[in-house]
Amino acid sequence: MTTVTSRDDLELESAYEAPRTDIERRLAGLWSAKLRVAPVGIEDDFFELGGDSLLAADVQFAIDREFGFEVPAWTLFLSPTIAELAEVIGSPAPLDHA
């Protein structure tokens, strides 16, 4: 599959908000690669962008590799935005309370 869907073609509830930090930019890039959607805003819902549970598991493992530690398993499933993920990744001592 070589296509990339424009975010404008999806009917999202959120307005586009650009990544503000390095972590958010890396996450947005990773999501674009996995979801084949560009650009990805930090308030966009992973599942509204076309993600599903199968893909979410894949993305979680990709995030682990990208950032070198395990983001709690619930994060992407229950708080599926880049802003929320970045907050967990950016906090000094992420606790796996899953």
Binding site: S53, A57, Q60, F61, A73, L76, F77, L78, D96, A98
Partner: protein
Amino acid sequence: MRDLADPALFEAGGQHRTWRWLRENDPVHRHDRGFWSVTRYADVDRVLRDHTCFTSERGTLLNLLGRDDPAAGRQLAATDPPEHDRMRAPLRKVMDLRSAAAYEPSVITAITGLLAPGLDGPEFDLAAAVRGLPLALAGPLLGLPDEDRPRLLTLVMAASAEDDPDYQVAGDASGTLRRAHRELFAYFLHLVRERARTPGEDLISLMLSPDGGRMNPGTAVSNCYSLLLGASVTLPNVVSSTVFELARGGGYRAWAGRPELLRDGVEEALRWASPGSHFMRHTTRPVRLSGVDLPAGEPVVAWIGSANRDPAVFADPDTFDPARTPNRHLAFGSGHHYCIGSHLARLTLRLFFATLFATFADVEVVGEPVRVRSTFLTGFKKLIISGTPRRGQ
């Protein structure tokens, strides 16, 4: 004729009359809603088996009719060979690494726990009790901690009967399905990571191990989900449908008194219950079935529950006969998509019925049973029974 796409028909238990009429009069029937129903054994077997003429990649259940299946090409049930076979082989291999018999003691312990309420009081809801049967198997198989099981049971019910207000975990059916689905994936993701760090002897650890071919962790998560859900939507209904019939028809003592018929009887229970009553396929080219020409691109529903009552294959098909042999039922499907967990399902059902017969000399249905409201799942949601404990209990 009653509509086979209407869950209410199944809730009322009327599907068998409709299937019988179709088998005899219109075995390849075109519905107004734009799908075909196939009800004879030979045609059902062909539709399930012949993946070149009948694809699984455009939805495999009637409730997906007219919608895209998001799992197409990514999960076993929704993928055609040869890709299906490439995806299936690693899981098959992992499942063969450890004999199913290794799980027997834990499964028996769990089953005695499920049946305990029947000894404590005058009556109990067998359907509710055996909703724990899938976890009695999946618990030891996947190494699920005991303390997680109540929540998992709640999520499994929500993910498989989302329309039922009794099982909802969010405001409505779609919210319930979404929430349950995501929480289960998150749970297995957590577990897969944990086993990657600290392997045990369970199936998840085996999936990730060198012996198991170091399965991709995302695939391992998806396999865990499919195994648990697959067991959950089928095992309890085999038990409830069978015990209902044994109690109603007076066959309980006959089977319970013949321990040598445990294996054959479980096959008959599978044929009788056919818990997954259909699978859907789409024609990939013009096909002729029982003399009827189907164009390409048509949805075809293969009614397994009907095939398993076809008198052309099963003598006296509406009688439960624990000694029936041969018994080439299609309860596990046919061909490439034959249930990957069939050996585990058989083991669990044999252990269940052996334990049930050891515990109760006879059972009686008391109160009004309630059937599952679904075109796919056949069984009972509520089945209050009163058991006669064997002497010495």
